[in-house]
Symmetry: C2
């Protein structure tokens, strides 16, 4: 399959490259040409006139729990620990693998509306989620959320090996839920597994004050210090949320080249706090952005997250120039790809994977065209996503979905599931 | 013209009324029936099958400067006073009335995408803005932004009288820009004018720390105390922004039944601060929501504002249950209408003005239907606005605009204006 995008504006997100007018060709799952308008007699299976709209790398949603769509607006307005222990965990105990598969598909629909081409997903039933990736065409980088309730280390190792063989849309990284849901022997075993495969480790880290305080009480160490002392970061990795970091935590993340995935929508809605993004940026840490799950956020909207990343940084530093728009776009694309191990899906360039979105500039919130990057970060919304292409396939275009199933069927089943387990 | 909306869900926003399934009829500019499904042989000019989507009152954008669309993404990442004095004011000096007319039309397009059916607009060239209301069909409640640079009191009085005669889409309320752009004699004259017509007065108030400090230095009073001491609130009114209020300011607003219009997007982007909404709510003050102008926000998106109102309240009070979704929806609809003097356009009810929006529930971010109000506030986006009807006319439906002009022509002229004045 070959596709030609012509009359486009292109924001490649390559360091130092400005937006330019040109065209882009896709052959199968890769970018085969990118640059100025090209003369020639090449035939394409499809030619798309972009009418001056913007092509850019798809957003990487670097932390989410896709299968939690059933619990959207179900148990709101609660603090994190109450929400988790009294509402979410009991409901999850009733969820089947098939439920996860269905509910993840609902999330995929929403990712596509928000220009997301890959997700870093931590949830139950990884084989079913891998099946969702394969069936819908969305790119899922799964990360294990092992904790004291399961799965076993043996199961985890098997998932890691099996899901990483084969399907380019589906990969699996090592991780665990969080310090507070694991005991010390389990953390040690997880660290040993990471060493066995020389793999990075990811986990929720310092999301709330309570979490840090309780870890200090238990171990006399912050979660980051504890994980580091157990050798968990010897092959890299990172943390989700990272709202409450000590200076020493920042040093560890900096020295070990770990990734921070910030989740401002979720931290805001659950009143967890504001991550000091400017401080992490100044330390040179790679910062990516995630929506967190649809039960805590509640939406899967990278535009809202991008505005919150820069907006909350401006508020907390009392500096309107803090964390500028281009920096935020980098977090939402290139930095996310880096954290997720998607080095072939970071920028638009020849031979890179064709994970591309088209931003509709013919919408009133994108006009006038004073500064397109700022327009996207400060004014952009899901309605500006005209097309989402994942791995060379257009899965969403002009409000229509091409994931092999009708949205209404997916909605119906999601509503049935919540009726059963709610 | 008669329109029947059938198979709808209806959220009337009447106190205590739950969402129900039913239908709604519009005759000319008013609601002629609302309630359960209705048998009968009535003929309608148009029947719209809502397919279970939600009808609700349109959003009232209770503080904006529509004509500033030209400066969107033009002078970002600056603090308020620098942005205003060195970038915006010099550019505005070059703007013509025709420019204001054109640029306000660009804003109207965006309002429609965000379900806004009326705006509380403070800007230059009120006759041209009134013409924009008439030509596009959007409801503009203008408020004067008089300051020491103009207009004269006589001009202001003439605007007040002329714009309030006649067109139901266009009204004019008394106000002034802010304490810091007026001197004392001018404030006294404005107060006298309000007394002459027994009218409420509105102004920017306590948007930044600097503004309050400088007012204290000048007068030994906060802006609110000063305005109150001059009798400016003797017939009611309110303030835009209201980020830094003393306890005494809150008392004044409470006792005089004044309105607070909060602008969290703008306050966030300009790093001005976070208005203590929970405190105002507890004091029983009427709180409405505005986007502020597209140069400071930068978008005109009531969904982002609604999330920020509740999200920032949750963050600052460290309470995830603070300011719940229904309260926020009330601010964005009923409370806005109250502040703007639109008592016939507040809720959906018989004989009320037909300022109605349809929220598309057949989108992934609105599924499952656990709680529709929470879905709208926590997950909603512009793409959920399926239709916007103002004063009985559908101005926006399924992504198409019906304001008598093509968006592309409006975009082209906006880009030409910024080239000339920028």
């Amino acid at each position: 399959m070959t596709i030609r995008f012509k009359n486009a504006r292109i924001m490649s997100m390559k360091d130092g490259e400005e937006i330019y007018e040109g065209e882009l060709h896709v052959k199968d799952n890769k970018i085969s040409y990118i640059g100025k308008e090209k003369e020639g007699n090449d035939k394409f299976d499809r030619e798309i006139d972009c009418k001056g709209n913007l092509l850019m790398p798809g957003f990487k949603n670097a932390h989410t729990h896709s299968g939690m769509t059933a619990m959207r607006s179900y148990a709101d307005d609660l603090a994190l620990q109450d929400w988790l222990n009294n509402k979410i965990f009991p409901m999850e105990a009733k969820m089947t693998g098939e439920d996860c598969y269905e509910l993840s598909k609902l999330a995929v629909l929403e990712y596509l509306t928000s220009g997301v081409t890959a997700v870093f997903d931590m949830y139950l039933a990884p084989y079913d989620i891998a099946r969702c990736a394969k069936d819908t065409g969305m790119k899922f980088v799964q990360v294990s959320g092992i904790n004291k309730f399961g799965p076993s280390l043996e199961e985890l190792e098997e998932r890691f090996l099996k899901i990483n063989e084969g399907n380019p849309l589906s990969s699996f990284r090592l991780g665990f839920h969080a310090e507070y849901t694991c005991d010390l022997p389990l953390l040690e075993k997880i660290s040993a597994l990471a060493h066995k495969y020389k793999e990075p480790l990811f986990a929720h880290n310092s999301e709330t004050k309570t979490e840090v305080k309780e870890c200090m009480d238990r171990y006399g160490k912050t979660p980051t210090e504890l994980m580091d002392s157990l050798g968990m970061f010897d092959y890299g990795g990172g943390g989700y949320h990272c709202v409450y970091f000590s200076d020493k935590d920042v040093e560890i993340f900096k020295n070990k080249k770990l990734h921070i995935v910030t989740n401002p929508g979720s931290n805001t809605k659950l009143a967890s706090g504001i991550a000091p993004i400017k401080r992490y940026l100044d330390a040179g840490i790679n910062i990516a952005i995630g929506t967190d799950g649809p039960s805590s956020n509640n939406c899967l909207d990278m535009f809202r997250e991008m505005f919150l990343v820069t907006g909350l940084a401006k508020l907390t530093t009392e500096d309107a120039s803090a964390v500028d728009a281009l920096e935020v776009l980098k977090m939402a694309t290139v930095n996310g790809a880096k954290a997720m191990g998607l080095s072939d899906a970071d920028v638009l360039d020849i031979d890179k994977e064709a994970d591309i979105i088209m931003i509709d500039l013919h919408q009133p919130n994108m006009q006038p065209l004073n500064n397109i990057a700022k327009n996207i970060v400060y004014s952009g919304s899901k309605m500006n996503v005209k097309m989402t292409m994942v791995h060379g396939s257009i899965l969403y275009e002009d409000g229509k979905y091409f994931i092999g199933e009708e949205p209404e069927d997916i909605y119906r089943r999601a509503n049935e599931i919540i009726k059963r387990i709610g």
